[in-house]
Symmetry: C2
Subunit: 205 residues, 2 copies
């Protein structure tokens, strides 16, 4: 009786988790497609295939819905960083992470950040999981940036924070979608182009 109960609860929780994952995947995609303001809760519910009221049982507000998706992406980034080969150089690690974020963006899985005074911003800043993740990621990237600058691989004249922001910005670079719309290059080519303009610059060498 007891073990049966345990299994049943576990199963239900598994179902619940699966549904929440489905919700977050949809939210993630919609955030990437149209941004927070243009995404509607009705749309999310319809896409997931559940009633809107059910959505609100899982997440108390539209902001929390979006925040959950952002936390998910942040977690993926943390996992990706943890799985990087330990013997790679700092510059290689940085390049690999940036490439990964651009692949995510081209795949339509990179939610675009709220532009400035969105209500989402406040929710994110108040979100412990998100901010902790962001800081952990920033700490890793920051250490690699300083190491790469010390080794003469990255321009040591640039403030590390400027480099960090420049790398973060690749995750929402409109050049990716512009080139994709142009149809002249495939995803891999687009990524290499932006990698080149980012690290080598536009000037001739």
């Amino acid at each position: 009786m007891k073990s049966s109960n345990v299994v049943k609860v576990s199963f239900k929780e598994q179902m619940l988790q699966a549904r929440e994952d489905a919700i977050i995947r949809t939210v993630n995609r919609l955030l990437a497609e149209k941004g927070f303001e243009a995404m509607t809760v009705d749309e999310v519910a319809a896409d997931v295939g559940i009633a809107k009221a059910s959505l609100y049982k899982h997440f108390p507000s539209k902001e929390d819905l979006a925040a959950a998706a952002m936390v998910g992406v942040m977690r993926r980034a943390q996992d990706y960083i943890k799985a990087l080969p330990a013997d790679a150089t700092p510059l290689e690690k940085l390049r690999t992470v940036v490439r990964w974020t651009m692949e995510l963006k081209l795949a339509g899985e990179m939610p675009s950040l709220p532009s400035q005074n969105s209500t989402l911003r406040a929710t994110l800043i108040a979100n412990r999981d998100y901010m902790d993740g962001l800081m952990e990621v920033s700490d890793h990237l920051g250490a690699w940036i300083e190491a790469a600058q010390a080794h003469g691989a990255l321009n040591p004249q640039l403030p590390a924070i400027a480099v960090l922001y420049t790398l973060y910005a690749r995750a929402c670079d409109p050049v990716l979608e512009f080139l994709k719309m142009g149809g002249q290059h495939n995803d891999a080519q687009i990524i290499e182009l932006v990698m080149s303009t980012c690290f080598d610059g536009l000037n001739a060498r």
Copy 2:
């Protein structure tokens, strides 16, 4: 009687023009601050200090309101390009224009483009003034890019269109606002930093 009429009409038209300019300035600022979706017509009316219904006498819809602001910025860009010193090198011209767009952005006067499937996009694409302006600007920049590549000033390996998009993207580069929020650098320093990462790249030289 006739001349008095002419003067009166001209004066009224001047007033009308002045009011529309005020409207567009407000819309421009709000578009820069929060984007098209987050900007409300009520907000615009309140900021300008007129009734919402009056706004709709000037512009038939929210999309047209925003489009008017975008056309205004495009016109400013065309004027700026026309006024560039004729004896400057193509690379110098490109750098000057990019710097100017970033100054606009830091001043909060660069409306952020609609992210993808905004209703604003269709309106802009259907807008003759906007599209003509965009093409004129692109023609100038494109010619300078190819000349700079031919002279060995810009990397000739990069497709000109990729360079063009990369330059356009500086006008909405989140790195600018990130660095500004950081408070460690003034506007001029921020612009030079982004100019450096854009043209020189992140790698050491």
